[in-house]
Every structure is written in C-alpha cells, then in structure tokens.
Amino acid sequence: MSFIETERLVTMANQIGDFFEPYASERRIEGVRNHLRNYWDPRMRQALYDHIDATGGADLRPHVLEAVAILRATAADKKAYAGPPQA
C-alpha cells in the first residue's frame, strides 16, 4: 500500500501545479519542484515517484511530471526559498 493514498497525493501535487500554472514554462516547473522538495516528507515524494514509475504519471499535470523529473535528478542541489519561482 502507498504511504499515503495515491489519489490524495496526485490531487495535492496537481493543486500545487495549478497554482504555478500562470507562470511561464520554466518558472512553472521550478515552482512545483521547490514546493515538493521543501514542503513534502520524502516518503510522500517517494510514493509519488512510485506512482509515476508504475503508471507513467497517470492523472498528473504535464508540468508536475516535468518538475518531479527535475527533482529526482537534482535531489537537494538547490537551496530552499519562499516566494516566486526562481528560474
């Protein structure tokens, strides 16, 4: 069983994606990445990764998927910040 129900995680991730939707592409993706990195417990992130690996990211917004891909590749490289996406 997922750490937290997958439907709940997908809803939360898409809500974050929806907030950053008005930003241009690069910042939109960076906003989601920064939020998932610094506000989500790593087990929640891992459960989201597992969902993406199992389904290709079913029901996730495209820019959320792109943000997760960057997050998985860069892990903790970038310092946390509050405010507008820095990209």
Partner: protein, 700 residues
Amino acid sequence: MPIPVRPDHSVTTTCAYCGVGCGFKAETSEGRIVRMIPWKEGKANHGHSCVKGRFAFDYYQHPDRITSPMIRKSVDDPWQEVDWDTAFAYAAGEFKRIQAEHGVTSVGAVSSSRCTNEEIFLMQKFARVALRNNNIDNCSRICHSPTQFGLSATLGAGAASQHFDSVLQSDVVLVVGANPTEGHPVFGSMMKRAVRRGARLLVIDPRRTETVDSPHCQAEVHLALRPGTNVLVLNSVAHVIVRERLYNEEFVRARCDWDDFGLWMGMVGDDRYSPEVVGPEAGLDPDDIRRLARIYAAGPNSTIYYGLGVTEHSQGSTGVMCLGNLTMATGMIGREGVGVNPLRGQGNVQGGSCLGSWPHMLTGYRFVTDDVVRGSFEDEWKVTLDSEPGLRLPNMFDAAVTGSFKAIYIQGEDPVQSDPNRHHVEAALRAMDCVVVQDLYLSETAKLAHVFFPGSSSLEKDGTFTNAERRVSMVRKVVEPLGGLADWQITVGFMNAMGYECHYDHPGQVLDEIARTSPAYSGMSFDKIDRLGSVQWPCNTDAPEGTEVLHMATFPRGKGSFMLTGYLPTQERATDQYPLLLTTGRILSQYNVGTQTRRTANMVWHDDDLLEISADDAAARGLANGDRARISSRYGATELTVQISERVNPGVVYTTFHFAHTMVNNLTSDLDDWATNCPEYKVTAVDVERVSVPQPVAGS
C-alpha cells in the same frame, strides 16, 4: 447583594483566548481565582477586555479536570491512574518500541497555541532531538498556516505588519473574512473607535456581520461575496487598481520586484477579472467592487485586517498573497496606519508559527533543508538533526490510515472535534498503536488515547505568549498546576524518558535558548519583557526594545515579491442535492470548540450552535425559528436549531462550532489549501430539511 470576595493576591498575566492577548490582573483569595481585572498598562488592550477574558476563567477548576496521569493498553480498556514517572516511562517505552518496529519516522507530535512559546519550542525540540525526526506540527495548520505561507511569499515575513494602535491612524480599514467585533472584540472596539473618528470601513465577507452593521459601526461598502470566491474578488479589486492606474508606481519601483509586478498587472488586468465578469459569479454588484477598490487605493492610509474567512479555503494561501500584493501595489505598507494584519484565532498562534513547530521549518521560518540553519541547532542541542521535511498533521493522519504512521503526542489539541472530516481523524487515531494526549479534560481525542498527561491551564504556569501584533507578553503562574506539573515540565519529563537528557529550572531558561537560536527573538529575555511590559519581535541588536511596524525601509528579503494569484474555483460546489453553501464563524461569549468557555458561566449568553438561514431559504423548506433542522453534506450530517436571519444571503447558511454535541465537523470536507493543507472549513455544500416541531431560540 452578595458581598464581593476581597482578593488577597494579584498577578499580572496574559489572556489565552483570542490573538489580541489582553493583559489582566488575576486576583485570588485563599488560593482560588476570584476575578480577572483588565490591566490598564497592557499595551495590547489598554485596560479593556471582552466577556471571555473577563469572566470565563472558572474552567480551570471545573470538576471535569483530570489531575492524575493515566495509561491503558487499549482504548477499550479502563484508564489506570499512575504517577508521573510511570506515565513517562510507559509512553517512552511505547514510542521506542514503535520506532524500533516501524522506523524512526513512524511517530510524531503536535503542539498547541494554548501553550506558551517556551512549551511550543520544547515540543518541536522533543520531536527533533527525542523522536529524531521532523514530524512536528502546530494547530495553525488548520487556521493560519496560509498566513505564514502567503505573507512570507510576498512580503517576506509571515506576521502582521502593524501594532494594534496603528489602526487609529488609518483613513480606510478593509476587513476581509473576519468579524473582529465577535472574534477579537478588544481590537474590534479599537477599530470601531477609528471608524467613529472618520475612518472609512470596507468589508468583504459572505455574512452581514456585526462589523458590517452595528451601533456606531457601518461599513461604507460591504461585498457579501459567495463563499469560495475570495481570490476571484480580490483579483477583481486588483484589476480596478491596475486598469484605472490607481497603483503607486513610485513605491513599487523603489521597494518591489518590477518584473514580477509587470507579470501580476498582466494577470489581474485581464478582462476575466473585470468587475462586470466577476460580479455575477461572486454574487456582487460590479459597481461595489469598483467603489471598494477606489476607496482602498485612495487611502491615504489604508490598512487590511483579515481572518479565517481568507485562510480556510482551498486557495487560502493564494488569498493571503492577494492581500500582500494589494498592499505593495498601492504602497500601503511600511508605515503607521497601513499594512496587512492577520487576526489570529488563539492566544499564541503567532508563537506557534514563530517557534519552529513546523515539519519543514525551524524557528524564525527557516527551512530544515538548509544546512547552515540546521547546523546552528545541532551545535546548540548536540545532536544530528533530520535534514528532510516531516509530515504535516493531516498527512500524519493520512499515513496512519494506511498503516505507515503509528504514534502521536498531542499537546492541548482536540483534533477529533476541531479538524475536518471527523470520521477520517477518528479512523487515523484508532489505527495508531499509541496516542498520548496532554490536556485539561478527557477531550473527544483523549477518548481514543492510550496515555493521558494532565496538562496545565495558562493560569498555572510561567512563560510568554506572542499575540497577533507580534507582541511577546508574560504569562505568569496564578495558581499551582492542578496536575502537579506545568506543560513545559511534562514535555521535558517525556523527553528525558525518551533518552534525551535536558533540564530547565525555569521557563525563562527556555526563552534564553530561543533567543540563542532565533534571530527575531535574539534580544528577548524574561527580565526585558518584565521591565518593558511586553516586546514586539523582531527584537535584536538593531531593535533592542522591539519593533512596532514591519517593512519600514525594506522587506526581509530586499524587494517585495508579487505572486501570480490565478483564481481556481473550489471543487466544493452547490448542486441540486446540496444547494446551499455552509460557512462558519464565532460568537462573542464562546471560544473555538468551547473546551474552556463551555465550562464557565458564559453559557448563560450562548448555550448552543444555531443555524442561520435566510427567510427565503427557510420558507422554501417550511422552516420557522426554533425548528430543528437536519444539515447534510457529502461527508456527514448533524442537527441544529434554526434561526432565520438577515445576516446571510439566500443560498448561504451559517453556524458557529463551539459545541461538541453539534459535531459541525461531521459536515466539513477534506479539501484543503494547495500550499499548506489548511482545511476548507468555510465552504461546504449542504442541504437543510426540517426534522421536528419548533423550540425556543435564544436571541431570536
């Protein structure tokens, strides 16, 4: 007439009810509190008080108080009274066993804004050094967590920009989603004083509250918007300011990021946010939106006060950002009489936010993922800290339901009664192996606990509170703790039993530790607060006696940041099956879920939660004043007594949530804010139907 009791002792302390944090002289006779006298030197209240702080103090000696620690193996077993050492050893043994079986991160804790700064700081320290994880949250998760997020994003500080007295220098007062007359009455009186002196009052709230229309206080413009449309309407206000060029270009160029301002202008300036488009969707006259925007922008000193009507939405953080954006666009920030100010619900919600009781942040709103910040705490505490964010309280419950989270230590909170979707919370607690509750009474949550630590009221301990204007005031022990230990001593006892040795002779030593680790509190001490009466943070070498107004010369991160606040309708919508929108609020004489005030003579003023409904909606359902009505939502149902009211528009119903038996949180959804998981308490689609014959309704 009975002869008044003559007090033999008096202690100056701070009220623990709402976020105003009034100073009181608590007077005792033969060791019992006999009256609370408003403290004339109190800088938050200047000798004023409300009926909660003044009269609702007897709860501390109510027969329901539990004064002995208790343990039990199963929630189906009877409680067994034990001594403190046995209770600490049992709880620690269970937590250590669970961590050994399920991992270090399978347990967590939540702190309470009814507790002092020192106690909240110790709770987050407990999680980080004794549990060795960041699974720590505080009760602002379900009220003002969007304030911390939204104001930090725009202005760089998740707190009120002003001191309360600043409102007396305002020309325009904009109140959004708050009813200070009932919820924060002492500040409400000061605000009314400003209105009587000529300040123009603007209100955005679905309900015609007492703030909108009461003796000596009438709003010039009231936007009675449809619940759930805050961001839409605030963007429309911004639209008018942008399209009519009412913004303060000089201020924005000097103080804010100009590029992001341009993006923001492009977004809110779009035709989709014109009042003529927004008005019909939000249930408003477009001309009223324009009038409000023009009055606010004209000032010359306009200020914003807001409450849970902004934060408790799926776009709660976005709504707070809208307010931050408005203050910057119009230059209404950084001096007396202007600013943006959350009206905090509980006495120490601001302290709960400041003192690191977050899964992602240490004190001073600094990320746990920051190696330098974390390192400063590791040096102080001599342990290696978890470098990853922990779980928020709602996510602890989510993980418990799936079997991934096994134990929790709850200080002074009653999530079964106060958190959304009661069924989900109860299922989560029942799924845990060990629930430790520290409270005054056997709360609804304690009924599902395995360990009960008898907590102490704010009248039984020393420490400090931080009120809604960032003012840190002394809380002083008036009577001895009925359970033998103050809350800070309980947490220290549990921490030692968990294997992390620490010792404090007095909570003043905890504030010293806070000062060593927290920049905004670095100049504070019990001695200084005693000497000055109270101190507003930041208090440091630059401002050794504290700071009344924030953002005077610059914002904490330099330039202010305009955030893009696109409107997204909530998923919670009225339908044919659930055609009405329920919203909630408070009444003057009761406080939050009523745990304390229901156990006092304040019951004489308000002894039940009522359902306010418009005459049209009542007539359509055959409802009269005093009828019992069944209220049902997609999530549950309850019954309330009907009060037909002109304060709500057709299509909207309203109730308070002060009584456990009404179970209003049976109705609320588990939808929550995108950024913080703050629940969407303020919008629930419901139906209402008559269930019985009329009964008398108080105050109808």
